[in-house]
Symmetry: C2
Subunit: 433 residues, 2 copies
Amino acid sequence: MTARTLQGFMELLPEEQIVMERMKSVIAHTYELFGFAPLDTPILELAEVLLSKSGGDTEKQIYEFKKGDTDLAMRFDLTVPLAKYVALYNNSLTFPFKRYQIGKVYRGERPQKGRFREFYQCDIDIIDRDELNIVYDAEVLAVIYTVFNKLELPAFKIYINNRKLLSGFLESLEIADKTVDVLRLVDKIKKIPEAAFLGELGELGLPEDKNKKLLEFIKINGSNSQILAKLEDFDIQNETYRTGLAELQTVISQAASLGIPAGNVQIDLSITRGLDYYTGTVYETFFDEHPEFGSVCSGGRYDNLSSVFMDKKFPGVGISIGLTRLYDQLHGSGLLKIKGPTPNKVLVVTQSSDYADNALKLLGVLRSRDIAADVMLRDCKFKKKMEYANKIKIPYLVIIGEDEAANNYYTLKDMESGEQFKVSAEEMAAKIK
Amino acid sequence: MTARTLQGFMELLPEEQIVMERMKSVIAHTYELFGFAPLDTPILELAEVLLSKSGGDTEKQIYEFKKGDTDLAMRFDLTVPLAKYVALYNNSLTFPFKRYQIGKVYRGERPQKGRFREFYQCDIDIIDRDELNIVYDAEVLAVIYTVFNKLELPAFKIYINNRKLLSGFLESLEIADKTVDVLRLVDKIKKIPEAAFLGELGELGLPEDKNKKLLEFIKINGSNSQILAKLEDFDIQNETYRTGLAELQTVISQAASLGIPAGNVQIDLSITRGLDYYTGTVYETFFDEHPEFGSVCSGGRYDNLSSVFMDKKFPGVGISIGLTRLYDQLHGSGLLKIKGPTPNKVLVVTQSSDYADNALKLLGVLRSRDIAADVMLRDCKFKKKMEYANKIKIPYLVIIGEDEAANNYYTLKDMESGEQFKVSAEEMAAKIK
């Protein structure tokens, strides 16, 4: 039997895994710092539940199968399970409901470099009943900013927009019936030439003068205050447009109050996010020097999370970090600065297995003081044990030989400075703490 | 569309999930304290890889399906994936290799109370090449003892045995050819009457006098030193038996050196563990007052982890905690003492949304000092906001009203003592820290 791991499924070596775990715990800790509570939902769900909201690509990519008479599927995101969860438990939840979830999702895409079939998503969402205050759209910006800083990621910008602006603009041009198609097309503007963009708009049956106005609109640039001023200047009285503009102004102003540097947030009117269900603020995050990584954190505001399951209205706002791909890209490019903690701080080695008991007593003391400690006991030359200590990059080494055992002390070596000390177990614990 | 979660799949409310997450992090932290490094392997594997070692029940319970031309399966434990991992990466690993893994596994059992189809296993294993020192068998005891204490679990005992004792005893009785069947039967001794036990031994074709000797052997009881003395007294010269006895003596003595109280470890010669692949020390853990929970942490020593994948020999020792079931049993019986941290420490409420900016500036300061803080902004009566604060059991409440906004201070309320303070943002951060 050949040992094999499926293509598109990440499997790391211990020293890499430690870094990955560190990233997960930084993300979880930051989400908690902002008042989000953890959630864990099953990876397997009824296929009809997961497919309730999807269409197109999702259905082709989903891992779906029968067990007995039941159609099962593996989740392909954390949003549909959340919609189900809120529909099921809304009577027991306290709103606004702020949850985070870090978990694996599954998409049977064609495997290619940087694409995974099993990958971690790290999501936050804030859900309320009937109406959700706009302040949470700014809060989401603050979470992205903080988590990216704590992860020590490369220089980045969060690009934001409000879908109501473009929708209102299209209404004012009286081409609102094409909104969904136009938003999808606008989402591609950075990837295709302007002429092609105008061509595709034309294919939708839209008149040339309106298409040019649209192009002009989404190309508005400058600082956030310049863009907001230009959006005011358009003097469009359409209500959707006015609401979108007011919301965007509020989010930008509240982001500043929350302490996010202006340089990390940029309005970009071409950001629409392909997904139909966003209705207000939308976010995408890019590394300044690595646009080729694509958006590494995206999301937005939606009106009604659980609409397929129930009539009650649950508006929300949320984002997702695709951690597996992010780790892979950063690791592959040598851009990962964050380090995992060394899991064991102290390694005890003995010159003979006669001193095993001395080693074990020391381990008991150190661990009871919450100091990670390990022993290397093996029938091998002392030199081999030292090689092991160097290989696992241990910060502190304890050696127990004849003299140590006879006179009841330990030799502690600080592996960084090279200094050695003769100490008791208690003195060692105090020194290392 | 009805929102539904599959039967046998645990889904918790936020206040329960916080406790579950706390348990996971205590387990992970304790494993790291003992020098184990984290590992994460895919939930989906090639079916042939997962089924390489199994038989009987496993095949019936496994979630197996085809995607395209590939036979896939969801893992049903963390041991087979580890065997694959070591076979694949052994040239890059440092031995002894100590890994922990906390992850979901899948078994399509008939759903019944306390049985889950998706559940967390929390495993540790120590693997070496060719030979693994006996000290790690004692280390495993220390891990179980420490993790159970840190989880604040009810009074417990770890029952240990060494399979070589019984195997050697059977060899000395010249009935070694029935060892596998006898070990399986011995494993059931606590569940069936003695007469039935002897009857079933008889059905294996074993002579009555030997069966009585066997029953006498596995019923040996007393303190650990009494049992060890009685095992010496048998004066069996069989080599397997002598090795087993020496190993058991060493493990008991080293457990004491590691600081494990004698009362938490008990030799029990009837513990054999059903699984064929254990070859030495075996462990089971029971709550003193709740034997009906069954063994809550089990494992043992094995000779050759990756034998189905390669010729190299990798002996190991490990244990597994079935966390989902453990949580469910303890929670259901009101025995769960461990508490999750409140995810947010400070809640800011405003008497009018005009003061939103004052709230946001405060949040920025608190979070930058690593103090978890949240705002409740909603178009609702102030009374509703106070109800929310009480419902989420927040330790500190900040109120911003007209006076606070005009005079640039914050009112901080310690919700436990009821005391109120007028403070600046910086003073508040210092006070709460």
